[in-house]
């Protein structure tokens, strides 16, 4: 069994509340940081830990903190991104629902490092009951003296507020989140300036994912070096994976980043294999935006190496034959599923969620949705497949924020790896309405080219 740093105590009865959380060793990182460390020393430990942003981009957290501008007399803000909305992703919800004080504790410690006296949790509005759980936890922390003025006599003041969104995937993008927190539409801002210089109300701001901030707790408690000993290479520590789709045991798992995809998918400790004795056809390993892989590229890389649950191994082969860790939303599809239909639902999702600022995204997402629906309904033409490819190419890289890329990649990867399934829909429209294409050759081992001697 791998080490668990975040969820090891999440199952303890009553851990949602302060007394039990504290009894189990909670808030030690705040004591350690405020009483024995300077803010910069906390940042230094986070740098040493190798922690990378857990929201999807995987950017080194310590480096992000290091970019925060600190002009004299200007407030700085920490904003926690709990706008978890990437299809396939429900890990932050689990953490906040079952062990909310871990997030609050991480926020106080991180706020101290960053010099934020007022920090916010921006949570998607649909998680309304989780918002209420967090509000109770914040109040408990306040009552126990972990929030407020002069915490532990350190001279550091900090308070936390929970801000609900109202249904907009785009607000998970950090500048859109800031706009939304200012009471506006979630339209992403042009960068630069980056939030680290001009963020919330024009002040220097760090926006971090829930899981990232929670990881600050074990990093400060045990030291960055200890954290960095877990995992492989630049994939240090543990990662929460939310597993869903056609698997036996959907749910949230904390993994140490040193296990193989095969172990994660098939062992009883995690997903327990494909449900109902079926076979794996395809998988999106890191949330809907990352490339879908056929079974034969998921478990092994194109080089024939075992694919691991790490940032590097999941992206091995680039977009040609690899995917990404993304947000850790692991979506498995069995042999009976239709890749065209699944891709259509994702295209519809991105069309719905496009903020409409940039023409390539606003127009392109709707166009892709319509074409995919036509193909799915047996009304597609062969040329539509090339047209889809063309549209996604023209969205990618041509928008203010990464939603355009996120909308383009799933379509691109589906065509790249499942083109024969798309063509079958076009050439067999009557069949396509009655049944799905099936497993075809998608699990057949790939022939590995042997390097010339």
């Amino acid at each position: 069994m791998g080490r668990k740093l975040l969820l090891d105590k999440a199952h303890i009865e009553g851990i949602r509340h302060y007394d039990v959380y504290r009894r189990e060793g909670g808030y030690r990182s705040v004591e350690k940081a405020l009483k024995t460390m300077s803010p910069d020393a906390v940042t230094e430990e986070v740098k040493k830990s190798g922690l990378r942003g857990r929201g999807g981009a995987g950017f080194p957290t310590g480096m992000k903190w290091g970019f925060l501008a600190k002009p004299e007399g200007v407030p700085r803000y920490l904003v926690v991104n709990a706008d978890e909305s990437e299809p396939g992703t429900f890990k932050d919800r689990y953490l906040m629902e079952f062990i909310p004080h871990l997030l609050i504790e991480g926020m106080i410690t991180a706020s101290y490092a960053l010099g934020s006296n007022t920090s916010y949790i921006y949570i998607r509005g649909e998680y309304w009951w989780v918002k209420e759980i967090l509000e109770v936890a914040v109040q408990e922390a306040r009552n126990a003296g972990w929030l407020g003025k002069n915490i532990l006599g350190s001279g550091f003041d900090c308070d936390i507020f929970v801000q609900p969104g109202a249904g907009a995937y785009i607000c998970g993008e950090e500048t859109a989140l800031i706009e939304s927190l200012e009471g506006k539409r979630g339209n992403p801002r042009i960068k630069p300036p980056f939030p680290a210089v001009k963020g919330l109300w024009g002040c220097p701001t760090v926006v971090n994912n829930v899981e990232t901030i929670a990881a600050v707790v074990p990093i400060v408690n045990d030291g960055g070096d200890e954290y960095a000993k877990l995992g492989i290479g630049k994939s240090t520590g543990t990662k929460l994976i939310s597993a869903c789709g056609n698997i036996s045991k959907p749910g949230v798992y904390e993994i140490e980043m040193n296990i193989s995809v095969e172990e994660f998918l098939y062992s009883d400790e995690y997903c327990g294999g494909i449900a109902n004795g079926k076979k794996l056809k395809a998988c999106i390993p890191g949330g809907s935006s990352v490339p879908i892989l056929p079974a034969n590229l998921l478990l092994k890389t194109a080089k024939g190496e075992t694919r691991m649950m790490t940032y590097e191994s999941l992206s091995d082969g680039g977009f040609a034959t690899g995917s990404m860790m993304g947000s850790g939303g692991f979506i498995a599809m069995d042999e009976d599923q239709c890749v065209v239909k699944h891709t259509y639902t994702l295209a519809r999702f991105y069309r719905h969620e496009s903020c409409g600022q940039c023409s390539p995204c606003r127009e392109g997402t709707g166009w892709m949705e319509k074409i995919l629906l036509n193909i799915e309904n047996g009304k597609g033409k062969m040329s539509d497949i090339d047209l889809l490819w063309d549209i996604q190419r023209k969205i990618e890289g041509n928008t203010i924020c990464p939603l355009g890329d996120a909308a383009a990649w799933p379509v691109a990867a589906a065509i790249r790896h499942f083109r024969d399934e798309f063509e079958w829909h076009v050439t067999n429209p009557a069949d396509a309405l009655k049944r799905n294409y099936g497993l075809a050759n998608y699990e057949k081992p790939l022939e590995i080219a042997v390097a010339a001697p």
């Binding site: 396939g88 992703t89 509005g125 009951w129 109202a166 009471g183 506006k184 869903c244 959907p250």
Partner: protein, 162 residues
Amino acid sequence: MKFSDDKLKQVDEMISHYPEGKQKSALLPLLHFVQKENGGWLSSEAMDYTAELLKIAPIEVYEVATFYSMYNLQPVGKTVFEVCQTGPCMLRGSDGIVDYIYEKLGIKPGQTTADGLFTLKTVECLGACGYAPMMQLGPDFREHLTKEKIDALIAEGKTKAN
């Protein structure tokens, strides 16, 4: 629309989360609150009152209310079924749930029953992918949906209305 002193106190509490002069930041939470007080939707009057409470222009409220999917700009049924239909839920049979609700209530996504009791909406990913198929029901999620569970939710909705 006019709030009682008690409600106005709650509005002040929301505004207190932000620095002086940044009360516009309370717009999203306040719109949730106003919508709840207004029977589940935002009328023009409700939005104008929101603007007044925050001392901002009405257009600043309209543009936000029309952007976010949780704000209803039309009246809705007493019970609103918001069934997720994005990829991971589709893989676990969300289409069947939408069909079954149509079979039982005769409403398609976007429609409300003639008696005003039920509205059916299809929505995009709500972050419950591992517990699919699912729906949002007011402030709660209902997960691992089956036909039996839909029957129970319909019965519950009818009881609530009586």
